[in-house]
């Protein structure tokens, strides 16, 4: 039995961005267990300061390729609140549809391409092309359709084009939406059910580990909160999204170019598992059925189950997308111009559930419509403290399993959070100090 342990995984693979896992144990005492964030800082404040409100969402979507849509939605909401720009019901429906497309895309990418190789004990999705071709083809088909929602509604799934402050520069045609609807019903729903079957057969590979923590997500009375809602903590309940600073409390730690966050404890969980724990009562039957099949219970405290929670909520994205498309088609699509006449110049906050958790943007504009201050807080940054706390509990529990097994479980733990390290580092850079 080893009571000395020295693990150093440099540039962890199959995550977005650059991070190292570092664990040291000496004579049975855990000296260090942390995720080091070594992503190069990008200093986004230099890009935002003095920029026109037309550019804010164009710039912030470049913080992250995977979350570009989420950044754009959050940025637009913050700008619209700051400038007093009202948007139409059609705009809100199209944006909700976009958030579903982006969430679906990201959750499927994570489950199949980044997490599943661990369950099947291979190094990437590529060997599965030969060994499990039907699974890879299914994953690609699901991802394609999710991306097509982005391409059709926003002009481009990565770094969307048409969503601008006050609305859209162009809207999809009824025919395009009908085609998306047809493929959601004919392809996506059966593919989703097959995904649940595949995951069920792999569920034994998900490590058993429990650590109760604080779960923070948006919550809405109307629906499973993704596009908007209040901030909801499993410890202290709901507050308005304008009070996000109280729920995040960013601070710098030396081992990370991304700042850490905390609310009521030393760390908290943001992301699909937090959304599930706080909002499972708002999910559709397809999602609840999948949760039951996959053994996901309300009040789940196993962080590895985040991947399962992502798959479960993908069903909600499909169901609600169909409802939104029906409403858009029923109301008739209107070729509206975006409302870009500011009625005020001040501060605005946007909060959106993106795949990895709540994303916050806050801007302050001057009277020329240029940004004087910006603050953005990223889900992965919010989760970093929770990941470190998980590691500190996990390592002593599995110390007898040998270095290779411990390393794999630590890598899987980090991957379960689906971290988006570019985001966490790049967004932290958007803070201007008062």
């Amino acid at each position: 039995m080893s009571t000395n342990l020295d693990i150093n995984v440099k540039h962890l693979t199959r995550v977005e961005g650059h991070g190292n896992i570092v664990v040291n144990m000496k004579d049975g005492t855990l000296e260090k267990a942390q995720l080091e964030i070594v992503e190069a800082p990008r200093y986004f404040e230099a890009m935002l300061k003095g920029r026109s409100f037309h550019e804010a969402a164009i710039i912030t979507s470049r913080i992250c390729g995977i979350c570009s849509l989420g950044h754009q939605m959050t940025s637009l909401k913050a700008t619209e609140q700051a400038l007093g720009l009202d948007v139409s019901e059609q705009t809100v429906l199209l944006r909700r549809l976009l958030v579903h497309g982006a969430t679906l895309q990201s959750n499927i990418l994570h489950a199949y391409f980044l997490a599943a190789p661990d369950f099947l004990k291979v190094g990437s999705v590529f060997p599965l092309v030969g060994s499990h071709p039907e699974v890879v083809v299914r994953a690609l088909r699901m991802k394609r359709l999710a991306n097509d929602i982005g391409d059709v509604v926003s002009g481009r799934a990565v770094h969307p084009i048409t969503p601008v402050p006050g609305g859209f520069t162009s809207v999809p045609s009824a025919r395009q939406l009908e085609e998306i609807k047809r493929r959601l019903i004919e392809d996506m729903v059966p593919d989703f059910e097959a995904t649940v079957e595949t995951l069920k057969s792999l569920a034994a590979a998900i490590p058993q580990f429990e650590r109760e923590t604080e779960y923070i997500s948006l919550r809405s009375d109307d629906r499973y909160a993704l596009y908007d809602g209040d901030i909801c903590s499993s410890d202290t309940g709901r507050v308005d999204d304008g009070e996000y600073r109280k729920m995040t409390n960013e601070f710098v730690v030396p081992h990370s170019t991304s700042k850490h966050c905390k609310a009521n404890r030393t760390s908290y969980f943001a992301g699909a598992l937090a959304r599930w724990n706080n909002n499972h009562d708002k999910l559709c039957d397809l999602a609840l059925g999948a949760a039951e099949e996959l053994g996901l219970q309300p009040g789940c405290t196993n962080p590895y189950m985040n991947t399962i929670a992502q798959v479960v909520e993908a069903a909600e994205c499909v169901t609600d997308s169909l409802a939104i498309i029906d409403q858009l088609l029923g109301d008739g699509l209107k070729d509206e111009l975006p409302n870009q006449e500011p009625t005020r110049y001040g501060r605005g906050v946007g909060a959106t559930e993106v795949p990895r958790g709540i994303l916050y943007h806050e801007y302050e504009y001057d009277r020329a419509g240029r940004i004087v201050k910006a603050n953005c807080i990223i889900p992965t940054g919010q989760n970093l403290g929770n990941i470190d706390d998980d590691m500190k509990k996990l390592v002593p529990e599995i110390v007898d399993e040998g270095k290779d097994a411990i390393t794999l479980k630590l890598e899987m733990l980090v991957r379960a959070y689906d971290p988006c390290i570019s985001c966490s580092v790049h967004m932290l850079d958007v803070e201007f100090r008062d």
């Binding site: 540039h11 693979t13 199959r14 995550v15 977005e16 961005g17 070594v38 190069a40 800082p41 990008r42 200093y43 404040e45 230099a46 890009m47 003095g50 920029r51 026109s52 550019e55 164009i58 710039i59 470049r62 913080i63 992250c64 390729g65 995977i66 570009s68 990418l109 391409f113 980044l114 190789p117 190094g123 990437s124 999705v125 590529f126 092309v129 890879v136 083809v137 690609l140 991802k143 394609r144 991306n147 002009g155 481009r156 799934a157 990565v158 770094h159 084009i161 048409t162 601008v164 520069t169 162009s170 710098v252 030396p254 170019t257 570019s422 790049h426 932290l428 803070e431 201007f432 100090r433």
Partner: protein, 248 residues
Amino acid sequence: MAKPRVAIFDFTGCEGCELNQLNFEDQLLDILAHVDIVEWREAMDGHADEYDIAFVEGSLSTPDCIKRIHEVRRKAKVLVALGACAVQGGINGVKNTHPIEEVREEVYGEDKYLFPTLPALAVSSVVKVDYNVRGCPMTQLEFLKVFTALVLGKEPIEPEHSVCVECKLKENECVYARGMICLGPVTRAGCDAHCPTVGQYCTGCRGLVPEPNLKAMEEILVEHGLNVDEAWKRLQLFNANEIEGVRS
């Protein structure tokens, strides 16, 4: 003939260009049939000692980036820069227009020396780049063209005309006529004028055409009653390194 060995690397950027490679859902299996992917941190475990083609995403902005890019260049027969950050420094270049100490202090405060940083550079300002795939994110169509040419042993061709040419071919209404600033006249084509086609202005993400007529662009802006300073500011967004010192 052995399949080309391909490696993909990310430096300072958003990884959207890499993501766009995983977004070739319809072509991914065909691509995989023609090459061996030997290293790609975002998608797979493992490292390789040499490769025929290296795709490089992101700009170079830390001492570690400089060290890594030399290593990639040594091991690669052909190096392709992927996307605006790698090709021309891209959006990261904007930080170069501010004093570096000020930028670091604004973000990290008194902890600024914990994290080293350099001006954000295009890959070609540090090592030789053989080919470019431009755009933010990289234009997927252009990637497939460059990829196919390289696999077939042919020379990829880079367009030298402006986005306006493609926009006219699409029969779009001119963005200037709609009262918006547009960077199409000085921006390199190859995207099929996608942004103007869906109602947005050209943001200049593909970099400048060779010998851009910036004077003429200013004249068009004035003619349409648009703000010349604002246009330069927007041009800077993806091209800070390229236009540094150009405007007198």
